[in-house]
Amino acid sequence: RRQDVLTVTPWLAPIVWEGTFNSEILDSAYRPLNLTIGVTAFAIGKYTRFVGHFLESAEKHFMKGYRVNYYIFTDNPETIPDVQLQPGRRFVIVPIKKYPSWQEISMRRMEAINKHIAETSHQEVDYLFCLDIDMVFYNAWGPETLGDIVAAIHPGYFNVPRSQFPYERRSFSAAYIPDGEGDFYYGGAVFGGLVKKVYEFTKTCHMTILMDKANGIMAAWQEESHLNRHFLSHKPSKVLSPEYLWDDRKPKPPEIHLIRFSTVDKNYKEVRD
């Protein structure tokens, strides 16, 4: 039981923190459903170097005991290492085009995920999580994260007032959120839900990204801005605490009892080149 943090949103979506749930009860409810959980991750250009560590750590901590399909989207299939997986888990390479800038690559993810769901993964998985590849699992990530529409609170903004959230503030962007509005600042590195729901909101986000493109504007934090706009008007049914989306460069505050998924320290300039 956690009394130091908010554990339910005003629209009654649970906010998942260590201490709020019992893994055994959740496993006994979810395991019998024979679910397959999908994971999408984009490894473009130099980002393929993160795949090995991501997968190895996922094998140790992500949805243990469940069937998992990893979909690694890459422009460079030959550089993807061969990682040994547990039974019931498989790994699929999805070849995609490389765009000229890292911002463009980031924003095209919505379109790529949406297309892939329509063509392939909707038949293969029940739930889908879209994760950044330059991250590592350190602790259990289990069925407590499953929900219709799942978003995660960005580690840099869970303790700051709403006025400081880096929402897109230019009113002519489709990702615009006016002052005084907004529930949380959600991170673009983790989102997911029922495959059908992920299909719907990736489509919407891609549409708003294209609208901005047509108007010659790019949102402050690329698709993360669009995701935040979307989740403001279509609230997630479950919110993951920053335990599920941490940044190791930050000192660990008292509210964070367990870090489950976190960024890999890297030289941004070098790797985005």
């Binding site: 629209w11 649970p14 409810a29």
Partner: protein, 249 residues
């Protein structure tokens, strides 16, 4: 709310005043164009409660949204003219009366499941069974709408697991093994999606029939069976005792 438990160990929210924003929830509910039904029974002397229940429910239950009230009674003539809000509908359904009130209460499960199958599934998305001897004094809104919803009994809220009123005799289908049980739910207010309520009422009635064949009756009748069901099929949302408070407490 820091003074109460607002989330179960399986991450179902427990609804207390102050934990939710009804405006946000109303906006979400209206977007989906949903219809909610209420099932209630007024058999034998319980006809007396009809007016009180219906006028308060009409005013306070999901106000502003379409609600279908299904009133089962053996005494349709006793129902005086009830003025319903424009978005609400009242359907009066005549039933036979049984000799003992336990029989009536147990056969409710059967009646509800049969009517879901033949009628309600085509008319409502969500369905709630509420005891007639209840008056609403405050708004009960869309915060109650979810797939499978149980209400924590106010009598049992502070009780420890060992002293909770679960059926413990293993001969009964409603038996809950010692040391188990999450909460004690009241049979006076439960509901959910029409599909889930169908499954629940079928399962409970099946338990009731099996007990009858084995010449045993659960301690708290249909409520014991309800508690067994909700232990093994966890509710997706719980209503705190604020939602069904027994005045005698």
């Amino acid at each position: 709310r820091r003074d109460v438990l607002v989330l179960t160990p399986w991450l179902a929210p427990i609804i207390w005043e102050g934990t939710f924003n009804r405006d946000i929830l109303n906006a979400q509910y209206m977007r989906k164009n949903l219809v909610t039904g209420v099932v209630t029974f007024a058999v034998k002397k319980y006809w007396f409660f009809i007016e009180g229940f219906m006028s308060s429910a009409n005013k306070y239950f999901l106000a502003g949204h379409q609600v279908n009230f299904y009133l089962f009674t053996d005494n349709p003539e006793q129902i005086s003219h009830l003025q319903m809000a424009p978005e609400n509908h009242l359907f009066v359904i005549t039933v036979q009366n049984h000799s003992q009130w336990q029989d009536i209460s147990m056969s409710r499960m059967d009646i509800i499941s049969r009517y879901i199958r033949s009628q309600f599934q085509y008319e409502v998305d969500y369905l709630y069974s509420i005891d007639i001897d209840v008056q609403l004094f405050e708004h009960i809104g869309v915060e109650i709408i979810d797939t499978l919803v149980g209400t924590i009994s106010s009598w049992q809220y502070t009780a420890h697991r060992e002293s909770k009123s679960y059926e413990t005799r293993t001969e009964s289908q409603a038996a809950i093994p010692k040391g188990e049980g999450d909460f004690y739910y009241t049979a006076s207010f439960y509901g959910g999606s029409v599909a889930e309520v169908y499954k629940l009422t079928r399962a409970c009635f099946k338990g009731v029939m099996e007990d009858r064949e084995n010449d045993i009756e659960a301690r708290w009748h249909d409520e014991s069976h309800l508690n067994k069901y909700l232990l093994y099929h966890k509710p997706t949302r719980l209503l705190s005792p604020e939602y069904y408070w027994d005045e005698e407490l």
